[in-house]
């Protein structure tokens, strides 16, 4: 039976259970309950707004929205920018992951550490930085005497500008998922291939790429879905160019605030959700055809010698890093230091007033740091607890139900933050039966974070479960180990590194989350994202930049802490550690 199961291979959604006994299996569906509550109910509640007009079921909103050419143009624009952005993420993130994980380039730890930071800078700020950098008042270009004249067209206000920044912003996602995978690549297999005469390209196409395809596919899917729901970059770069994507179209609908606004937003949200699900379904299809399982952890990772080309490769990597990290960071710091917006920064006029103001005058900064810290740690811990058993069920007990859940968890992540926030308000303002309201408390932001980031925590764990050979479990079961025992002694230790990596990713993403909390906050419950957004929104861009600089500093400090602690943690827990 075991041999048969191995021959049949692993096909999500189609294979029958390979291991397990009936009594423990009956408990498994219960694991879906928390997922259902936190991530599917709010979306379902929002969908209801789209199919009722004045309390009566109706297809009016659907017809209006789907019948409008604006909708389809925005959808096409979303597909184009998200698609092109994903390709860019894949090129940058993939190249970094392969080179860092498989070759003998130097200073890997520093390189990877720096590569993680762009993801931590809020997208709005990245966009602002690039526009400032390439505009007429650019401190850098002015110093070089290359600044364009006033009023010259800004190349970033275009579809390709949006795609480029989306690509840069999400390259770390591809990098992280791929790297978790590369970590498990056995050196022995490559050496065997080499002995058999495989060289260069053949080694890549026939051994390395197939073995790492689950991570590559997962990373691509995640980058695509993230880019699809991104609001900050298309808002900063697309609105000036009259270029709408679905998230900015939703924002525009909200700005019109007629009575039909929620209905139309709900239909547009469903459209984004469907594109995301479609994208993910395609990827699952691709993934389902593959079965490359590996036996536990590898002792020695692969180590390709680059030889004479090593210095050149290193130089290119560092140059890319300069472009995607140093530039936005420099612009951010410069904006935080100017005495007033638009004034050119110089050695004579820089000022730390903005930092003083946000740190010592306005109590909201410290409060926001505290709130964001609690929320992101809470979300990371809770999500890991939910995701470990959930990933097991989805990977090892594929049924139609788990397959559906697996697709639907993408939706809260793909929706623009503001739409997820509306869904949470509708559902949690007054919870039926127990008549408790989460609205106006930190709890509603917490639940929204769980919904939004579930998929970030889930995918790495699923990825590592699907790479583990069930033979390990079968052996344990043959010795009489029940489900609980197998989870504790076999599966958890092997999945722990990817679970920890997922948790860390959730923590870092939630820490400066911008748009979900923007609608859900209330007095005293502000998050860092809300603080930055509100300051910028009310014209205090300099103060907003100062808070953003502080956030980046704290994140770097935390990452340094993890880096230092990584020697004492199991291998793979710290996602960027070499």
């Amino acid at each position: 039976m075991q041999a048969a199961s191995r021959l049949r291979g692993f096909m999500p959604g189609f294979a029958s259970p390979t291991v397990g006994n009936r009594s423990s299996d009956r408990l498994l569906p219960w694991l879906l309950v928390p997922v259902f509550v936190i991530s599917i109910l709010p979306i379902a509640r929002l969908a209801i707004e789209g199919v009722f007009v004045g309390g009566v079921p109706s297809t009016d909103y659907i017809r209006d929205v789907l019948g409008s050419s604006t909708t389809w143009r925005a959808a096409a624009n979303s597909l184009y920018t998200a698609g092109l952005g994903t390709i860019i993420s894949l090129l940058i993130g993939g190249a970094f992951a392969f080179l860092v994980a498989l070759t003998d380039i130097r200073a890997k730890a520093v390189l990877v550490f720096c590569f993680m930071i762009p993801m931590m800078i809020p997208p709005q700020i990245t966009a602002l930085a690039w526009v400032q950098l390439t505009g007429p008042s650019s401190a850098l270009l002015n110093a070089l005497g290359m600044a364009p004249p006033m009023g010259s067209p800004q190349p970033f206000y275009s579809a390709e500008g949006i795609a480029l920044l989306l690509g840069i912003q999400h390259a770390s996602i591809v990098f992280l998922t791929l790297r978790a995978n590369l970590r498990m690549l056995p050196r022995e297999q490559i050496e065997a291939a080499r002995l058999a005469g495989a060289r260069g390209g053949r080694l890549w196409w026939q051994i390395i790429l197939p073995l790492t395809s689950p991570g590559l596919i997962a990373g691509t899917a995640m980058a695509f879905v993230t880019a699809l729901g991104n609001f900050g970059i298309p808002a900063m770069l697309g609105i000036p160019a009259n270029y709408s994507t679905l998230p900015t179209l939703i924002y525009q609908k909200l700005a019109g605030f007629g009575p039909s606004v929620l209905g139309e937003v709900s239909v547009l949200a469903m459209l984004i959700g469907m594109i995301a699900i479609l994208g993910v379904a395609v990827h699952h299809r691709l993934l389902g055809k593959r079965d490359y399982r590996l036996m536990g952890m590898v002792g020695r990772p692969l180590d390709i010698r680059l030889g004479a080309r090593r210095t050149l490769v290193e130089a290119v990597l560092w140059a890319v890093l300069m472009a995607i990290l140093v530039i936005p960071l420099m612009a951010l710091v410069a904006t935080a230091l100017v005495p007033a917006f638009g004034v050119k920064l110089s050695l004579a006029n820089y000022s730390f007033d903005a930092f003083y103001e946000v740190l010592f005058v306005q109590p909201s900064t410290i409060r926001a740091f505290h709130n964001s810290f609690m929320l992101s740690v809470g979300a990371a811990v809770t999500l890991v607890a939910i995701c470990l058993p959930l990933a097991y069920v989805i990977v090892r007990r594929p049924t139609r139900l788990t397959h559906m859940v697996n697709l639907l968890v993408e939706v809260p992540y793909a929706l623009p933050g503001v739409v997820l926030a509306i869904a949470c308000i509708l559902l949690f303002i007054r919870i039926p039966v127990i008549d408790v309201s989460l609205y106006g408390t930190l709890a509603i932001i917490f639940v929204a974070y769980l919904a939004r980031f579930l998929v970030i925590a889930l995918r790495p764990v699923m990825n590592s479960f699907s790479q583990l050979d069930p033979a390990l479990e079968e052996a344990a079961q043959a010795c009489g180990a029940g489900l609980g025992r197998r989870l504790r002694d076999i599966l958890l230790p092997l999945a722990a590194p990817s679970a920890a990596a997922g948790a860390l990713l959730v923590f870092l993403t939630a820490f400066n989350e911008l748009t979900v909390s923007a609608l859900l906050w209330s007095a005293g419950n502000e998050t860092l994202g809300v603080l930055i957004f509100n300051l910028d929104d009310s014209g205090d861009t300099v103060l907003a930049s100062a808070v953003a600089v502080l956030v980046v500093l704290v994140v770097i400090a935390l990452m340094t802490g993890f880096q230092l602690a990584s020697r004492r943690l199991p291998k793979g827990v710290v996602p960027w550690q070499t």
Partner: protein
């Protein structure tokens, strides 16, 4: 493992317990004023009425309304009082029966155009929209028409009425004006003026010199100039358009008495002093003007009718989108 899940569930449940505030009297305020201004207003009101506890939420009008719409759809709107950007939004809410009327005794000090005759909303300040320009340019514009001068081709930026409520009012005012009308917008489009998001973005584009001329609300430019940004503000010769940050009471307000007190307070001399201190033009006719502004008599307000603006809103947006090739 199950134990871990349970622990996590209990922990998250504990976090979910709502914080219940207990006060003699309460007031829930939704406002779109900038953070600091909102804090100042609430602090002053609490100083005047120490027994009233104020819960307030500050956000951009757009997001505030999205939040409020969701609350209404869920059957539980929270605010008692709204203090938000424009009368057109409130005119719409009045039409939908979402507001309640209150005749404030302070109204007598206000011009009739600045409040609703039935008492559904009252203007609290004048935020005018004029022209901002980067001081790096050679020639300062004087009138709205200057912006359609071919010399300024591709140099002008303005907030988009598709995104900004104040910009929609601006559009409505100028297109209803006999001298300007839709021809003016055609000329702007021909001049390749850029319509982008909100006022903040326009100010940034002008201050950074990316587009040297812009259409923007007065206080952003005048405050920016005072802080040292390289910009100046012009009150165009044809007059300025304006929004008035009106205050209104929700139909479903739970604290009606406190809401009345709040409306009276912001309209009173004392409340209007605050508006002045924040650097805005108070709506009350007998008040001084903040530094950097010309005399009240020199600010020419263009004619504006919220009811017409509301009626025309959708058609105006569509026409604008057609002319500017926007989506």
């Amino acid at each position: 493992m199950m134990r871990n899940v349970l622990l996590a569930a209990v922990a998250s449940a504990a976090m979910m317990l709502p914080v219940v505030g207990q006060a003699a009297e309460k007031l829930v305020l939704y406002t779109s004023q900038p953070n600091q201004d909102a804090q100042t207003t609430v602090d002053a009101f609490k100083a005047a009425y120490p027994d009233i506890e104020v819960e307030w939420v500050r956000d951009g009008t757009t997001k505030l309304m999205a939040k409020l719409r969701a609350e209404i759809a869920a059957g539980d709107p929270r605010p008692d009082v709204l203090l938000i950007a424009d009368t057109v939004t409130l005119e719409g809410m009045k039409g939908e029966g979402l507001l309640q009327a209150y005749k404030s005794p302070e109204a007598s000090a206000y011009e009739a155009a600045l409040y609703d005759a039935d008492g559904y909303y009252y203007s609290t300040k004048l935020i005018t929209t004029g022209i901002v320009y980067n001081t790096g340019v050679e020639k300062a514009p004087k009138s709205w028409k200057d912006l359609s001068d071919p010399a300024m081709k591709n140099q002008v930026v303005m907030p988009s009425p598709l995104y900004s409520g104040a910009a929609l009012i601006h559009l409505s005012t100028l297109t209803e004006n006999k001298e300007l009308g839709w021809d003016y917008y055609q000329a702007l489009a021909a001049n390749e003026a850029r319509a982008q998001g909100g006022n903040g973005g326009v100010f940034k584009a002008v201050a950074s010199g990316e587009k040297p001329y812009g259409v923007v609300v007065d206080f952003l430019a005048i405050r920016g100039k005072a802080e040292g940004s390289p910009v100046d503000f012009v009150f165009p010769t044809e007059g300025v358009t304006y929004v008035t940050e009106p205050v209104a009471i929700m139909k479903d307000a739970k604290n009606v008495d406190a809401a009345h007190k709040f409306v009276d307070f912001v309209l009173s001399n004392k409340g209007q002093e605050l508006v002045l201190d924040m650097g805005y033009v108070p709506a009350r006719g007998d008040m001084a003007l903040p530094e950097g502004f010309p005399a009240r008599s020199d600010i020419k307000l263009m004619d504006f009718n919220p009811a017409v603006a509301l009626e025309q809103a959708e058609a105006n947006k569509k026409k604008f989108a057609d002319i500017f090739g926007a989506e």
